[in-house]
Amino acid sequence: MSDNKPKERKHNRVMATRAVNDAVEAYYEKCWADAEKGALTAWGEGIAYFPLIRAAGINYVFADAMSARMGARKFPYAKEAAADFGFLEETCSYARFHIGASRILKGDFPYDKSWDLKKIMAPLPDVYFNTDACSAGNTWGELLRRYLNIPVFTVFTRRVFTWGEIPPEDKHVVEQLKEMVKFIEKMTGKPYDWDKLREILGILKQSAAMRARLRDLMKLRPAPLTYFDVLSTFASFTILHGLPEAPKLLGDVVKECEERVAKGISGIKNEKYRLYWLGAMFWTKLGSMAEKFAQLDVTVVGGTYDFMFYPYPEEIDPDKPLETLAASATSCGYTLDNDNAAEIADFRLCKDLNIDGIIVYECHTCRMQSGSNHDRADYVARRLGVPITYVTGDFVDDAFFSEAQFDTRIEGLLEIIDARRRGK
């Protein structure tokens, strides 16, 4: 329900988040510069085993994050290049954009040269790492192996797990990571740098602590920041993680938010509703979504996506690096069993965040990230007595988004909340 009056801007963006984008751009440029000097570049799907690669001095680029960047920058050619390669629109959009990028970089697909590729994508990889995040990911790795003639290393991660445990039968993840270290040593021709790995995990622990602090700050009413601000720092984990600048950038965001709390400044102009975002995110619309919700007096106070990677700093143990990495992979959102995910990843958080309703995000080209969301939302909604709405979109492909339907579903949810408040 809204007044049909001209709108003033209401999302009060945390300004320190802007620096994350600059740091990511600098990272991509560094990848290109290093590659020209002969350094190795790795692309990969999945995030849990990143530190292992980075510690060996290989520049690692998380495929999903690269696709998200292309989508956010509205770079049209990657999608077209994938379609030209025979990929249907229904295929994972992260995969499509990424495969399309490889075709463009290889010179097999034309693009408008006014685009500076070095700002939006990494150089072609020398190796591909696959964490068996999904079946599309496995096919994607195999395709790149053949197309680019590069080695691929895959870690098979069984699912479904219980929170925080590596059951004895799944020690095989740790064993595979030991094999991965040998593979990396062969690639670099150097003995593996375990001290560097421990250092990177220490940095990651600091970053996780900063993000946990942001989550605590979002529990305040009104919240000094929104979930969209948090997602603006997401690259601290997906691209910059393990680099010293990541905790510094996050620390600056925390500092700004704490100053806001002291001065009574909130993340949006007039917080009336607090919603939880269950599911992935459309990276092409982060800024416009932040403003759209602010216009409706909604603070989106949390969500599941950022929770998937190293949610608890105390569980990162630099002295047990392989076990820490295996635990991270086996306790992320989509490797957990539903009950665990709903109870730990959603319910406890939603309760602390004092939410009024849940937005379930269905990602059109990712069934894995959408399939269990209904059950998880239902579990939380029943226990907290809050309403749910379902929205459809995609990671990076705008073709699967209808703004009018999105607006109706969100405004409809708010009208239910209003009606319930009036009835109390």
Binding site: M1, S2, D3, N4, E362, P387, I388, T389, Y390, T392, F400, F401, S402, A404, Q405, T408, R409, E411, G412, E415, I416, A419, R420, G423
Partner: protein, 267 residues
Amino acid sequence: MRIHKVKNYIVAGLDLGSLTAKTVIMDSSARILSSNVTQRGLIVDEEAAKESFKRALKEAHVSRNDIAFTVSTGYGRKIEGFGDKDVTELSCHARGAYYMNPDIRTVIDIGGQDSKIISLENDGSVAAFVMNDKCAAGTGRFIEVMSSALGVPLKDIGKLSLQSKKPAHVSSTCVVFAESEIISLVSKGVSKIDILAGIHTAIARRMYGLIKGVGIKDVVAMSGGVAKNEGVVHFLEKAIKSKIYLAKDPQIIGAVGAALFALDYAP
């Protein structure tokens, strides 16, 4: 439900859907003075909205200046210059249906390009809702395309489908896939009547899947233009095993709800 102020004034409710513009003019005692449904082309634009509003005002013998407050709803609810306030069609269909029959607890709304199932609280407000995804599968637009593909006028397809003894199997409600499926059925010599019954059954099957998302509570009402299609209503009743309540004009239920909200906000 709010108690309206005892004062004489007139309000308007506009439901600017994807295919049609609907207007309801209402007095302060919540009596409907006039209603109008206008379709101009395949989308509702400012002109269609203006025309519908103008015709409804004329029928009620009032002018635009007599309207104390206007609420707009539907996908065009934010078109400038019409509503003093906008409310989603979810709340408006719920409220409009409840106004028609206070026993209604579930509303099935199949509009021009989307469909919704709305579960109502005992006071007529929305308890929960589900909507189809962004494609027009199984909606009014789908029926229009099928009617055109078969060369049967839209107004006749409902009645004709009720004559079927053996509905054809139509597996898809996707506008594109169903059209090719129908061409194939026609070429196999399946009668148009059986194909129409198959189309309506496919819509009913799809809606039943959506209904399970919120559960079904009697009394069930149907709103939107597709509620005028006896075939869809019949096959839907069979699917949900429940009688469907139909208002005299189910297409204006959203606009009625919007007018009722306008009464709440009228100065």
